[in-house]
């Protein structure tokens, strides 16, 4: 009870409960992991802006007591860019699903990685469009069933983390809803990182993806993450063949690169100087 109180302190009690998610959904675990990370860092509720797009995951902001922004489908990173530029003191976090961030929002995702703007993105990847009823997403593996892939998917998926790394993100990590403690600590690291950070949270959608692909109950799907997860250190020693079907978890990428706003602020500061010099002259 004592432990769950931490999350309760961050919930918006004016919202109607129960929430929109199916019983057993991993999104609640991701939300818990996120709140615990924020709590450990003692980030004030007033100083955090939580931005989402459309979908099951994107319903998170309404339930939590931060500055919360539920935007249009695919656009949360672009909205977040404006929020961060207008008020760089805010800690800006985007939390949304694989369809929102990587399909309709894919362009914004790669460009935000490239800019290296100080925003944290948590991508909840459950391989499927849950809210609309189980259509395949850009992360659905090949040969899986979806409501729009009745004869199994024929498109290869994106690897969210590789996409982020190759697009220029400076911190990239992955975990699963089975590894809730690790997930929370990775989100914490991402929040601390100055630059564009991405955490992929592998989650279960037993209602749509699991049902269509006979992967069983929520419990079975979450347990399955335990069996396929491989820590980064172990993965480094394994051949690509051995890593087939595995999920590599941990910090995958952590580098330093100039952050966009700091860089731009230097330009602003430089352009302010002549004005101040003018004033002094006149005085």
């Amino acid at each position: 009870m004592q432990k769950s109180d931490v999350t309760h302190q961050y919930l918006r009690h004016t919202m109607e409960f129960p929430n929109v998610w199916c019983p057993g959904c991993g999104i609640g675990i991701v939300l818990g992991a996120f709140i615990r990370a924020v709590d450990r860092l003692h980030i004030s509720k007033d100083d955090l802006a939580l931005v989402s797009g459309i979908g099951c995951t994107a319903r998170i902001p309404a339930y939590v007591d931060f500055n919360t922004l539920h935007t249009t489908h695919g656009r949360p990173i672009a909205f977040a860019t404006g929020v961060k530029l207008a008020n760089p003191k805010l800690k800006v976090v985007v939390i949304s699903g694989d369809g929102d961030i990587l399909a309709i929002g894919g362009n914004h995702f790669i460009h935000a990685c490239r800019r290296n703007i100080d925003i944290t993105v948590v991508v909840v990847n459950n391989y499927i469009y849950g809210m609309t009823g189980g259509q395949y997403s850009p992360t659905t593996p090949m040969g899986k069933r979806a409501s729009t892939a009745p004869y199994l998917t024929v498109e290869p998926p994106f690897d969210t983390c590789n996409l982020a790394i190759s697009s220029g993100a400076t911190f990239v990590a992955r975990s699963t809803v089975y590894h809730a403690t690790q997930l929370s600590s990775l989100i914490e690291k991402a929040l601390v990182k100055k630059g564009f950070s991405v955490v992929e949270a592998m989650s279960n959608c037993h209602t749509q993806y699991g049902r269509l692909n006979r992967e069983g109950t929520a419990v079975r799907m979450i347990q399955a993450f335990k069996n396929v997860a491989v820590p980064v250190s172990t993965a480094a020693k394994l051949s690509p063949e051995k890593l087939e079907g595995k999920i590599v978890i941990g910090v995958l990428h952590d580098i330093e690169r100039p952050e966009y706003i700091e860089h731009y602020q230097k330009i602003i500061d430089r352009l302010q100087l002549p004005k101040m010099a003018d004033k002094e002259e006149k005085e």
């Binding site: 004016t14 919202m15 802006a49 902001p61 309404a62 249009t72 656009r75 207008a86 362009n107 914004h108």
Partner: protein, 380 residues
């Protein structure tokens, strides 16, 4: 920094940028597109000098998203585009109407549909500016017809946007945007600036969409201690999503009433020699310039003509036009499209005046002589 003391030869697009900065705009996000690009270029050059920020986004959807985000975080924000980009922005424009976020969007109109005529003038986005996004909403749309009006109207766009917490669209066009005129810009510090209403209650009492007596709501920004939720979903006064039919009707009613109850503040028209006119030329944007000349030409030919130029295109100035039209036998609606605003004129004037259209949609301007010819042809 712009030296405002001497008259300058500048473009309409530049004047829009200066107007924005004078009105307090400190954030611009945009994507290159002819014929609006000079607005972005001027903002990129000038904004950082004023402590503001410019960003070139990956597309127009991202641009409007970013300005909405910036406005929510407390900055006055603007984007500028042309037809194709304006089409891409429609969904998030709808978001800004729904979430009641002030911002300014300039559409420097070019020929369409589709890629159309990137370097040629048109006024074919007038209806899109009113109806472009899905759902019921009531946009404010302004139309400049000279370089100095570009400055003034952009200032006014920001003021209306802040006052009524909604996007304001400026429909400029290729001719107005690229034309150069000598203008004396006012000292920026002397420009009348309206700031958004701030909440005067403690955070725990704060309702982001409070319905007040005049249907506008005070607005806090992210990071100020008023933690609120914003969504494009239909929401209650706190901003939380609702599917309660009473709450839905309240919200959508508010969007309408906050505009409808302030028409006298929002509506602006310019007239020229209208007092004794029996023939009214109704024109806006670049066509209004030819129309003004046509008034003089007509009067030389003993036609008592006058100009009615809506500066506020939407909401359409029904009341002002109805007044004028009572004396008018003939109304010539000149526009660079196949007939858009003329339908509003017909609606307002019903049967008491003869309403005819003069339309050009070949990428060229309507000339004063063409308007005179039309008057000769139609006036019996």
């Amino acid at each position: 920094m712009t030296d405002v003391s001497v008259p300058k030869l500048i473009q309409g697009n530049q004047a829009c940028s200066y107007g924005a900065i004078a009105a307090g705009c400190r954030f611009f996000a945009g994507y290159p597109i002819t014929p609006s690009t000079e607005i972005a270029e001027t903002m990129a050059l000038e904004l950082p000098k004023y402590g503001g920020k410019f960003i070139q986004m990956e597309d127009e959807i991202a641009s409007i998203s970013a300005i909405i985000g910036a406005s929510i975080a407390g900055s006055k924000a603007m984007t500028a585009t042309s037809g194709p980009g304006f089409s891409l922005m429609q969904e998030n424009l709808g978001y800004a109407y729904m979430a009641e976020v002030p911002c300014v969007v300039i559409n420097v109109m070019r020929g369409g549909p589709s890629t159309g005529l990137p370097t040629k003038v048109s006024q074919a986005d007038v209806m899109q500016a009113n109806w472009g996004a899905h759902g019921d909403y009531y946009p404010i749309v302004l139309s400049p017809s000279s370089v100095s009006e570009c400055f003034d109207i952009t200032v006014r766009a920001f003021n209306l946007s802040e006052r009524y917490r909604c996007p304001v669209i400026i429909l400029s066009d290729e001719v107005i945007g690229h034309m150069r005129e000598m203008v004396s810009l006012p000292d920026f510090s002397s420009v009348e600036m309206i700031e958004r209403q701030r909440p005067n209650v403690p955070p725990e009492w704060y309702k982001h969409f409070l319905i007040t007596h005049d249907f506008t709501s005070p607005m806090a920004s992210f990071g100020e201690g008023y933690r609120f939720h914003l969504t494009g979903l239909t929401h209650d006064e706190f901003g939380l999503p609702t599917s309660d039919n009473i709450e839905i009707a309240k919200k959508l009613g508010k969007l309408k009433l906050k505009i409808e109850r302030h028409l006298s503040d929002i509506s602006q028209v310019n007239t020229y020699k209208i007092e004794d006119a029996h023939i009214v030329i109704l024109a806006y944007g670049s066509v209004a310039r030819a129309a003004r000349q046509a008034v003089l030409l007509s009067r030389k030919k003993r036609f008592k003509a006058g100009l009615f130029q809506p500066i506020t295109l939407w909401p359409f100035p029904d009341r002002q036009l109805r007044q004028i039209s009572r004396k008018a036998d003939l109304i010539v609606v000149a526009e660079l499209n196949q007939g858009q605003i003329i339908n509003e004129v017909r609606r307002v004037c019903k049967s008491h005046s003869k309403v005819v259209g003069l339309n050009r949609y070949d990428g060229e301007l309507i000339t004063p002589e063409q308007i005179l010819e039309k008057i000769k042809e139609e006036h019996r």
